[in-house]
């Protein structure tokens, strides 16, 4: 009975570790090889504050969680900033260093032999002693962890994480600080692991560095992968199976000396086979989505009242009060790549409510100019002003908030997310993207989410996609995906919209729709800048055209003026 209770408790600890690593690996898309190290650190922090300072273990757990999460976050942040491989590098190095450090710091950790006599939990004078006594406490713990993790992953915060896994640059262009989200989820996962470590230490009344070695970290990774990345229920399955297998090995006659290598062999082979033949794990991410994938909303059956603020007529109505004063000024922008001047002393001014087109032969610097203006590239020289405020050094993820948003030539909608989620993600400054507000001001998050939903349907309706709201974006046609990208761009609420080849690759029937939308947007006061190869489109919609060649502006004027100039035609068509 006690053996069973103990095995169950142990399983719960590993379920918690697996779920928390799944936040980092499955949702954050980062391989942390140091999960066991953080587990162990958490155990030590709690041991030290309860044994040396005599604190209650209920105080020890949160201290362990917070201290470990902050410590891990600060160390990991520089590595998360660079590239995905660097976090692997960091966590392996950290794992090995911490393990050796713990082994050699006898007076703090007890070295090899660890520390005995970690205080038992005491509730109102009642000492929790046997594994069976512990079981309800463990059950409560795992329930709490699941509640937190499910809330996080199903929130607007989780939505952004999903977007990040699909396309980091697209998420950045929608005004989200990708690094911040990654660091936060890393800290949450790490903190939960530390919590598990501290409970484990109080449960076994013993802590040693042995539980924090690389093999344990890899075991937890194997559990996540086996169960299914980005599915929290799969993690429980994965942890359960990989606890049971070695327990069963114990009953094999004569296997006692071979258990460690056999275990390693089994995990290793399982990892290889799963990554190759079933990378989504036993329980895939969209396991229950398939059943529910019926259409939620039907066109005309608008689920919300459209209030005055978001009434389509207010936006599409002609507003003659729009003055065409310059709103964005680009002065002398330059950028070189290894000696090649991609953009050279480029000047541009966008008038409010006007459509400006950048044209020129391939490689003339149009896309580089876009990247410079939206902060995706840092200019070598020059300034950018938005309403007389300098924004040259505003990072890309702050641009939509500052009023400038861009679309991508290669569309970059989030293929694996629903049409609606694609739109919802684009809303700026959502409370639900802050975990503090998510847990401490849930009513505000709920209210905002309702309003955002309303807004999302408004924009979807505008591009004619509202009846496809609950479909996965990858099921849309290419033209529909481009429309979705436009709706997503509008949702950012930015004043200035930079569209990179909005009509390329779609057939002529759709081109007309794109032109109508762009003209309507300009009439409603949005400032538009497009890069476009289709000269018909340029002539039809643009007020001003900039002709670029070799990184410089060589002519400016109306479409008719420029097209009448034979010299430009020569450059453009290369004849």
């Amino acid at each position: 009975m006690e053996y069973l209770a103990h095995t169950l408790n142990l399983t719960i600890i590993f379920v918690v570790l697996t779920v928390s690593l799944n936040l980092i690996l499955g949702y954050g898309g980062m391989a942390s090889m140091a999960h066991a190290a953080f587990f162990c650190i958490g155990g030590y922090v709690s041991t030290i504050v309860t044994m040396h300072f005599g604190w209650n273990f209920l105080a020890g757990i949160p201290v362990a969680i917070i201290a470990t999460a902050v410590f891990g976050g600060i160390l990991a942040a520089p590595f998360i900033r660079v590239q995905e491989e660097y976090l692997i590098l960091f966590t392996i190095a950290f794992q090995m260093v911490i393990f050796h450090l713990m082994l050699s710091s006898y007076n703090i950790t007890g070295g090899d032999s660890g520390i005995f006599g970690v205080p038992k939990p005491v509730f109102f004078g009642f000492e929790v002693e046997t594994p069976a006594h512990f079981l309800p406490f463990m059950a409560l713990f795992v329930f709490l962890v699941y509640w937190v993790c499910l809330k996080v992953t199903k929130s607007p915060f989780g939505r952004v994480l999903k977007g990040i896994r699909e396309d980091e640059r697209a998420v950045t262009s929608l005004g989200k600080n990708v690094i911040k989200f990654k660091v936060v989820i890393f800290m949450v996962g790490t903190g939960i692991a530390a919590g598990a470590g501290s409970i484990f230490a109080h449960y076994t009344q013993f802590i040693s560095p042995a539980i924090g070695n690389l093999d344990e970290s890899i075991l937890i990774i194997a559990m996540v992968v086996l169960g299914g990345t980005a599915n929290l229920w799969g993690s429980a399955v994965g942890a359960f199976l990989l606890i049971i297998i070695p327990e069963a090995l114990n009953f094999l006659p004569g296997a006692s000396g071979l258990i460690v290598p056999l275990r390693g062999f089994i995990y290793g082979v399982l990892l290889i086979l799963f990554m190759r033949f079933r990378p989504e794990g036993l329980i895939p991410e969209y396991f229950h989505l398939k059943k529910k994938n019926t259409k939620l909303f039907v066109k005309g059956d608008f689920p919300f009242d459209v209030d005055a603020e978001t009434d389509p007529r207010n936006l599409s109505g002609f507003r003659d009060d729009v003055s065409h004063d310059p709103i964005l000024e680009v002065k002398g922008l330059s950028k070189s790549f290894g000696g090649i001047k991609a953009v050279d002393n480029f000047f541009m001014s966008l008038g409010k409510g006007q459509v400006t087109a950048l044209v020129g032969p391939n490689g003339c610097g149009k896309t580089t100019a876009f990247n410079l203006v939206t902060g995706f590239l840092k200019p070598d020289n020059g300034q950018i002003y938005f309403q007389d405020k300098e924004i040259t050094h505003v990072p890309a993820h702050r641009m939509p908030h500052s009023g400038i948003a861009r679309s991508w030539q290669d569309v970059r909608v989030f293929q694996g997310m629903t049409v609606l989620d694609n739109i919802l993600l684009a809303t700026q400054n959502q409370s639900g993207e802050s975990l503090l507000k998510l847990f401490f001001m849930p009513w505000q998050v709920k209210k905002e989410e309702d309003a955002n939903l309303r807004k999302a349907f408004f924009y979807l309706d505008k591009v004619g996609l509202s009846e496809k709201a609950s479909e996965i974006a990858s099921s849309l046609s290419y033209a529909e995906q481009k429309l979705l990208a436009v709706a997503r761009l509008l949702t950012t609420g930015a004043e200035i919209l930079l569209l990179d080849e909005p009509s390329s690759g779609v057939d002529p029937n759709w081109v007309k729709q794109f032109m109508d939308i762009i003209k309507e947007l300009a009439r409603s006061g949005k400032t538009i800048c497009i890069v476009e190869h289709n000269l018909e489109v340029v002539r039809e919609i643009s007020d001003t055209v900039y002709f670029m060649a070799e990184g410089r502006k060589i002519a400016q004027g109306s479409a008719e003026e420029l097209m009448a100039d034979p010299k430009l035609g020569e450059i453009y068509f290369g004849i």
């Binding site: 520089p78 950290f94 093999d215 290793g268 990892l271 290889i272 990554m275």
Partner: protein, 288 residues
Amino acid sequence: MGLFLQLLVRGLIIGSLYALLGVSWGIIYNTTRTFHFAHGFVYTLAAYFILVPMGLSLPLIPSLLVGLTVAMLAGCAIEYFAYRPMREQNASQLSVFLTAMGIMIAGQSVILLIFGPDSRPLEGFPEKVISLGPITFTTIDLFIVFLVWAVIICLFQFLARTKAGMMIRAVASNPEKATFIGIDSKKIYLLVFAIGSLLAGIASFLGALDRPANPNIGLHALLISFITVFLGGVGNLKGTVIGGLILGVAESLVIMVLPTEYKMVVTFFILFMVILIKPEGLMGKKSA
């Protein structure tokens, strides 16, 4: 001063080994961008396939040939049977890495199951102590340094002057364009896995001369090799060599002020500071 010089020399010897390790992993990573975690397994495998034939009283040179051949075959097999099919499936970097980790763990466990956990020294190599003023080292140290630099110079000459070397560099700098001019990147990938695994085998041999081999040596070797690569700058093998020397010297010199257990901490600290201040590595180029 005497101690300092002694430690510096010791650091340069170890650093040479680190440089070789770094280059062995770096040539694979720079070219294929595969986080080849199983490199550590190849390293351990090489040591055992040198030591076991020697234990069966085969002379050194044939044993060495056996070990190096096994290492190359293992590296190529991992690329051919594990990484390539995953790339063709368009698997994410992360999945490829997890596969590599699976190979490393399973392989290491197999070595442990077959050969047991005991350390095996590489014996029978003539060792004499040489003293130059305050500095002492052994003939083995001298041999290690000589061989490492001979191998590294050969490798750089190979990359700079031969057609195959240029093809490797072409694939490393721009895989797409390399394909356009008719380079078969699959073959080049196999080639760099062969070269990298050969170098790992040589490093493993030299490492076994320095200290006995056991089933876990691969992990430390792996850690050192990729820390060296990221420290020096991805895509820059010269940077990797310098990174290896810096690590070796730093680990050695730190004994003057800290207990030996802190060796790894210093390695980590250097890595952390470099990534913090210059994320692209000491000699890396900023990516656009």
